[in-house]
Symmetry: C2
Subunit: 421 residues, 2 copies
C-alpha cells in the first residue's frame, strides 16, 4: 500500500471477516435459541479464550496474561516504549446471553489489527486488544472483576476469594483453566482505551442513529425505602382512620419517576422491587418495602434527585404520620470519558459519514474502570429493541461494521501513523 492521507482515510475494516469471527466465537456455548451461555472461568470460557488468543497469534500479536486472568494481545508499534493504544471488552456472557455483548468489543479490536496487517500499516504506538475477566458477574461477584482489579477498585485477594454457587473460587477456576498470568494487574501501561459495545438500550434505534458517542456513565444511587403504617381489615376500617402504607408508598414511587422527568434528558428513576406486607387482598397494607434506583450523568445531578426524594418522603411523613425510612444501599460515581477520546471517536464518525449522537452509558462497562487509569472512550451501536442479556439480543451487520470502522480510525488517530512526506 502506498500510504497517503487520502488512502489512510479510505481504510475500512473487513465486515464479513468480523461477522464470521463473531459467529464462530458464538458457537462456543451457543444455545438453541441463538444465544450464548459462556460463564466466566468455565471450560467454555477457556475454549473462547484459547480461540481468540490463537487468532491474535495468527495475526502476529503477542499475548500476556495478568494475575486476574485479563488477557492483553499486542501488535507492536514503531516506538515500543510508547504506552499502547488499547481496546477491549469481555468474552464471558450471561447464562442466557447473546452473541454481541462484550464479544463485539474484543473481536472489533482484533479486526482493527487484521485490517492494519492487510494494508501493512505501522503505528507509532503499539495497538493492544484486551479481554477482561468476568465482566458479567453472573457466576462470581463483583461484576467487572478483571477491569476492577486492574483499576484498583478492589483487591486481587478479594476477587480470588469470590465463590460460585458450588463454592468454587475464582483462583481455583483461573488455575484450572490455565489463565493465571504473572503480570501484576494495573501495572500494564495504557496510552488510551476505547471500547465498542452494543448500546443495550433503545436510544440509538429509536433515533435512527448509527453511532453513539458515549460521553460517560451515569452516577447511581440505590435506596431501600420502608413505609410503615398499620395493617387492618379492609372492611371495617373507614378511610379516615386508615394508616395505609401502600397508599403512601405509591406517592413516593411516583415522585421517583417525576424527579427523573424533571431532570431530563439523562436522569432515570426506577422502582423495580416492591414487597407488600401482609399482601392479602382484604387487609390494608401495614408495611411496604421498595427499591429506588436513581441515575444521572453527573453526581451533582443524581444527588439533587436523591435530595428531592428525601424531601418528598419527609413531607409525606409529616402529612400522613406514617414512618418512611430511606436507606442508601449503593452509590456509584458518574464517569466522564476523556475529551480526547470523545473527540477521536467523533472525528472518526464524521470522517466516515455515519450518523451519530452523544449518549450516556446507563449500564456498567470495563471502560468505566479503565477510565480511572487512562483517557478512555466508548462507541455504541444500536441493538434490536434495546434488548441484551437475552438470547434474542441482536445487532445489524451494517452497524457492527460501522462501529468497527469508527474504532479503527479513532485508534489510528491516537496511535498515529507517520505518513511519507
Amino acid at each position: 500500500m502506498n500510504l497517503s492521507r487520502d488512502n489512510l482515510s479510505s481504510l475500512r475494516i473487513d465486515a464479513n471477516r468480523l461477522w464470521q469471527s463473531l459467529m464462530t466465537l458464538a458457537q462456543i456455548g451457543g444455545t438453541d435459541k441463538g444465544g450464548v451461555c459462556r460463564l466466566a472461568l468455565t471450560d467454555l470460557d477457556r475454549q473462547g479464550r484459547d480461540l481468540v488468543t490463537s487468532w491474535a497469534r495468527e495475526a502476529g500479536m503477542t499475548v500476556t496474561v495478568d494475575q486476574i486472568g485479563n488477557v492483553f494481545m499486542r501488535r507492536p508499534g514503531r516506538q515500543p516504549d510508547l504506552p499502547p493504544i488499547m481496546t477491549g471488552s469481555h468474552i464471558d456472557t450471561q447464562p442466557t446471553g447473546g452473541k454481541f455483548d462484550g464479544n463485539y468489543g474484543v473481536l472489533a479490536g482484533l479486526e482493527v489489527v487484521r485490517c492494519l496487517n492487510d494494508h501493512g500499516i505501522e503505528t507509532e504506538a503499539p495497538i493492544e486488544v484486551a479481554f477482561w475477566t468476568n465482566e458479567e458477574g453472573s457466576r462470581f461477584v463483583p461484576v467487572m472483576m478483571g477491569s476492577g482489579v486492574f483499576a484498583g477498585a478492589f483487591s486481587l485477594e478479594h476477587a480470588y476469594k469470590a465463590q460460585d454457587q458450588e463454592g468454587k473460587t475464582v483462583l481455583q477456576e483461573l488455575q484450572r483453566i490455565g489463565y493465571v498470568g504473572s503480570e501484576v494487574p494495573g501495572q500494564h501501561p495504557v496510552g488510551a482505551y476505547f471500547e465498542t459495545h452494543i448500546e443495550q438500550g433503545p436510544v440509538l434505534e429509536d433515533a435512527g442513529v448509527t453511532i453513539g458517542v458515549v460521553s460517560g456513565s451515569l452516577g447511581i444511587r440505590w435506596f431501600d425505602c420502608i413505609v410503615t403504617g398499620m395493617e387492618a381489615h379492609a372492611g371495617p376500617t373507614p378511610m379516615p382512620l386508615r394508616r395505609d402504607a401502600l397508599q403512601v408508598a405509591t406517592q413516593l414511587m411516583q415522585a421517583v419517576v417525576d424527579s427523573a422527568l424533571q431532570h431530563a434528558p439523562h436522569a432515570r428513576g426506577t422502582v423495580g422491587m416492591v414487597h407488600v406486607h401482609p399482601n392479602s387482598r382484604n387487609v390494608i397494607p401495614g408495611r411496604v418495602k421498595f427499591s429506588i434506583d436513581l441515575r444521572n450523568n453527573t453526581d451533582a445531578g443524581v444527588d439533587a434527585m436523591a435530595e428531592e426524594i428525601r424531601s418528598v418522603a419527609e413531607s409525606l411523613q409529616a402529612r400522613t404520620g406514617l414512618s418512611i425510612e430511606l436507606t442508601l444501599v449503593s452509590s456509584f460515581s458518574a464517569t466522564a470519558f476523556h475529551e480526547e477520546c470523545i473527540s477521536a471517536i467523533t472525528d472518526a464518525t464524521v470522517q466516515l459519514g455515519y450518523s451519530h449522537m452523544p449518549v450516556v452509558s446507563g449500564a456498567g462497562h470495563d471502560a468505566i474502570y479503565a477510565a480511572r487509569l487512562a483517557p478512555s472512550g466508548m462507541i455504541f451501536i444500536p441493538c434490536k429493541d434495546g434488548i441484551s442479556h437475552n438470547e434474542i439480543e441482536d445487532a445489524k451487520p451494517a452497524d457492527i461494521e460501522a462501529g468497527c470502522n469508527v474504532l479503527l480510525h479513532a485508534m489510528l488517530a491516537k496511535a498515529k501513523v507517520v505518513l511519507p512526506p
Copy 2:
C-alpha cells in the same frame, strides 16, 4: 318481682356473670398471649359447645341441633307457637383469635336469659340463643358456613364436603364431635334476629361512642388488575422510551383510594396485594398484578366506584399504551338490616342512656345471612384499637355490659312482656 313498666325498664343484666362466662369459655383453647385458638369442629370446639349448652340447660333452656351443627337454645314463651326472638353468633375462633369475637354474641344471649330467669320475667314469644357452625372459615371454607346453609346461600351437601388441610370433611368432623342434629337447616322459625358483636374496626373507639347501631353490611366488589408494560434495564433506558408497568399501576392504585374518598363516608377502597414482575432492583417492571377491594353501603354505590375505576383504567391505557386488564373475581351484595330491629336497638340504647351512632358492618357476620330469612339487626361495641382476629383483641367490661343491656331490651321489645294492668 312485681312487674311494672318502670321496673321492667330498669332491668339490667349481671355484668360480672357475663364477664366470668366469657373468661371461662376463653379457657377452652386459651393461648399464652391471652387469646383463643378454638377452630371449628375440633375437640376444643366440642368442649366449648358442651360447656355452653350445659349452661343453657342449667338456665332451663332446651337445646336442638340442625344437620350442619347449628345449635338453638330455647327459653319458652307464653305463646309457644310464636316464632322465637333469636340472638346468637359463633364460638369458633381464628387460629390466633381473641376472647370476644363471636363468643360475646352467644354469651350475651345466654346472659339475657339468665337475667330474665333471675327476675321471673316471662315473654310472649320464646327467646332463643343460637350458635352457628364455622363462622370463621379458618379450618373449612366457605366462611359463615352454618348460617349460610341455614339461609340457603349454599347447600348442606356443599358444606359437608368441605375439607380441612388434612383432608377431613365437615361431615366427618361433625359426626366425630357428635354435633350432627336432625333438624333441616332453615326450617327453624325465626321471628327476629339480633346479634351483638365487637366492632372489629376503629369507628366507635375513635368517636368515643358505646353502641353502634348497625344499619347493614357493605356491598363488596373484588377485582384483579394486571398492567403489562415492557421490562428493560433501568440504566440504559431513558424515561421517554419506558413502558413501566408499576408507574401506571400506582396511578390506578391511587384512583382506588380516591374513589373511596369521593364516596364518603361508607365507601372503602383497598389495594392489599401487589406482585411485581420481575421484581428486581435495576429492572423496569414489565408486569404488575394487584388486587382491588371496593366496598360501599349500597350496591349502586359500590358499582359506581367500580365504574370509576374502569374509566380511569381505560384512560390510563389510552394515554400510556400499556395494557390494563380488570377482572371481577368476587361480588357480595350490600345488606340493609330491618327497620324494626334497628328501631328496637336504637330505642333500647336511648332508654338506657348510652351514647350511640349508626355504623355499617364492613366484615361478614352470621346476621347477614339471618337477614335473608327474618328481620335482623346488629349491635356493635368498641374493641381496643379496632383489632380483632388477633390474640390481643380486647374490649372494655363496661362496653360488654352495655351491649348486653341493649340486647336485653331490644329482644324484650320484640318478644313482648305483658305487664299487669
